[in-house]
Amino acid sequence: MHDDPGNGSSTRRDKVRAWLDQARFFTEEVYSSRYRGAIARARRDEDDLFMLLVFSEMMGLQNPASYYTLELQPLLLERFHDWHTRMGMEHSPLDHFRCC
């Protein structure tokens, strides 16, 4: 058997590529491994907050937005009255939210 010159250069290229991959792995590890824990914890905190926001009512927590929208209530009442009359209902259909 004799060495095919094309083959030789492709194995060399593979070697260089493998070496570059190794080098990239090392630099990325050097950059990230020291702070991996701190960053993962920060991400976990954000995820926790997001979960609480999305599922807050299911968990029996009041939606924080309702506190800030309290002063919009007079407007809401008028609009709610318009809505239920438009929909052909004389009174509010909701038991816990009475209207006229």
Binding site: A23, V30, Y31, S32, R34, Y35, G37
Partner: protein, 558 residues
């Protein structure tokens, strides 16, 4: 004497320490087991507990422990001549620091990767753990105050470094975004970052920024200290990926490049040590060599701070127990090499003995400025770089290190305040901004309380910082010794350094107590007494813990 000769002797001795002494300790005393399942494997979670390649782990460990302290300490201590500092750095690295750092990793790995603080509680007792917390707080307090003073001094003395030092922070911020948002690959970003840093160092001398001597009734030095703490407070509140991570990375690269440049220039130039081996003509007011040398050089010979890193993060990532020797002991050797470079720069980087004496006019003078000037002299003559550029390069190296330590230190101090808020049920204290404010206030109190209104005398507390750092090292050595006693193994290899450290620390505190009393500096007098009380408690704790363990062993043996 030729600097190369000293360099070869120093590096040779440390190499023997690594290849012979640490091998003996690893095999006979700590008895490392390649089959032991390390916490990185036992609790592997992809976050904290990750088995890591030992070279990468060494890189992290070394860059975490190497800071400005192994530069500042030796550069101050050469006031007694180069020989005492050289001997303490070399022998300290071999018999103290190596054993301590290596032992801290080992002790932590054998105890589910717990931190030294938690281990002190488990192995020695609850009381010792409380002392440990107090000592840690004191160390952080002093390190932040001292480094602010060091950087402020550098900014005043080398105005050419102002643009690169602050520019480096902007470079780090940009790099952080580039990597976080995956705009470019890390290799490209690394090259861009280092090139940008060196371009800034190149243009620094042509755009010097000199803080006026007095602004709004305060000295320029004091203004810099305030700016630095403002910066550190903001930096410590930012997410780590934004600034701390890219900054540490660039600093790490810069550390290796800086060390290569300095060592390369030394070898090419082969300067003569102009400073005397033993300085018989020390400036008035210089304290006695014994015991002050052993607290002036802490990092570079032995430092308790390393135990925190060893047991905090390194032990959670150790792939095989036998890697502890390379990571821990060789990490200490790396730090010793940095300290050796500082000694050589501060003693061989002057044209004449007169120039050197003009630098070291009193104790605490010289220091990092001598390192920068001496190092610049060597780089200028060895590699042909303009002297002002070389000085800017070394100033940036020292200032960036001190800066990173400051914002890490402030972050840790904030955690302590938040923990106290938790323990004593003070909700307000748990808020990050308030806890950071308290940390900054306590550091400012120390920086200005110790050095007066202009903050320039803050380096007086350097030896006091050394004593607390050594106490921390003492507590770690105590944990290791008690573990060895319980395993019925020889204890003298850790007990002898422990006893030496405690004796020197207590003596140094007593001598400083008299100095502060004579100076009428009540603030430092009180601080000294606090540290002294802690030191005596540590010593008593050592005696009682060892006595108890030996009695237990004797009872079991019967």
């Amino acid at each position: 004497m030729s600097a190369i000769f000293l360099l070869v002797v120093g590096l040779g001795a440390m190499a023997v320490g690594y290849f012979v002494y640490s091998k003996f300790i690893a095999e006979k005393i700590y008895q490392l087991d390649p089959d032991f399942k390390t916490p990185a494997h036992e609790f592997e979670d992809g976050i904290d507990y990750v088995p890591t390649n030992r070279f990468i782990l060494w890189g992290h460990h070394f860059t975490s422990v190497a800071g400005a302290a192994p530069i500042v300490g030796p550069a101050i201590a050469v006031i007694w001549g180069w020989a005492p500092a050289f001997l303490w750095v070399v022998f300290g690295t071999i018999f103290f620091a190596g054993i301590h750092d290596f032992g801290a990793i080992w002790a932590s790995v054998r105890n589910k990767a717990k931190s030294v603080g938690a281990l002190t509680g488990d192995v020695v007792g609850k009381r010792a753990r409380s002392i440990f917390m107090i000592v840690i707080f004191l160390v952080l307090l002093m390190v932040n105050a001292v480094f602010a003073v060091v950087i402020a001094g550098l900014m005043m003395n080398f105005p050419s470094a102002v643009v690169p030092v602050w520019g480096a922070i902007i470079v780090a911020l940009i790099i952080g975004q580039m990597i976080y948002r995956r705009i470019m690959s890390l290799a490209v970003v690394s090259v861009i970052g280092v090139v940008a840093l060196y371009v800034l160092i190149g243009i620094g001398p042509s755009m010097p920024i000199q803080m006026p001597a007095e602004v709004a009734g305060m000295s320029g030095n004091a203004i810099w200290i305030l700016i630095l703490f403002g910066y550190a407070a903001i930096a410590s509140l930012l997410p780590v990926w934004m600034l701390l991570q890219p900054r540490d990375y660039i600093n790490g690269l810069q550390l290796f490049i800086g060390l290569l440049i300095l060592y390369g220039a030394l070898v090419l130039l082969n300067p003569t040590l102009v400073a005397p081996a033993f300085n018989s003509d020390v400036p008035a007011g210089t304290p006695s060599l014994i015991p002050l040398l052993f607290v002036t050089i802490a990092c570079g010979a032995i430092s308790g701070f390393h135990g925190l890193v060893s047991s905090g993060t390194t032990s959670k990532q150790l792939n095989k127990e036998t890697d502890a020797r390379f990571v821990g002991y060789f990490g200490a050797v790396g730090e010793g090499m940095l300290a050796l470079a500082a000694i050589l720069a501060a003693t061989a980087g002057f044209a004449t003995l007169g120039d050197w004496q003009a630098m070291y006019t009193s104790f605490g003078q010289g220091g990092v400025n001598a390192f920068v000037q001496g190092g610049a002299f060597i780089i200028h003559n060895g590699l042909g770089l303009p002297e002002v550029t070389a000085a800017t390069l070394l100033t940036v190296m020292a200032a960036l290190f001190a800066g990173t330590t400051m914002d890490t230190g402030l972050r840790l101090q904030r955690y302590i305040f938040q923990e106290w808020g938790d323990i004593y049920n003070q909700q307000w204290m748990k808020k990050p901004a308030i806890a950071t404010g308290l940390a900054v206030a306590s550091c400012l109190l120390l920086a200005f309380g110790a050095g007066g209104a202009d903050g320039s005398g803050g380096l007086i507390i350097w030896p006091l910082f050394g004593t607390t750092n050594q106490l921390l090292a003492g507590l770690t050595l105590l944990v290791i010794t008690v573990m060895l006693v319980r395993m019925r193994r020889p204890m003298w290899y850790t007990l002898a350094p422990l006893c030496f450290l405690l004796v020197m620390t207590i003596l140094a505190l007593l001598i400083q107590l008299r100095t502060f009393w004579n100076q009428g500096n009540m603030f430092l007098l009180v601080l000294d007494i606090v540290v002294l009380v802690a030191a005596i408690m540590v010593a008593m704790e050592c005696a009682s813990a060892l006595k108890r363990s030996r009695a237990e062993m004797a009872a079991q043996g019967d």
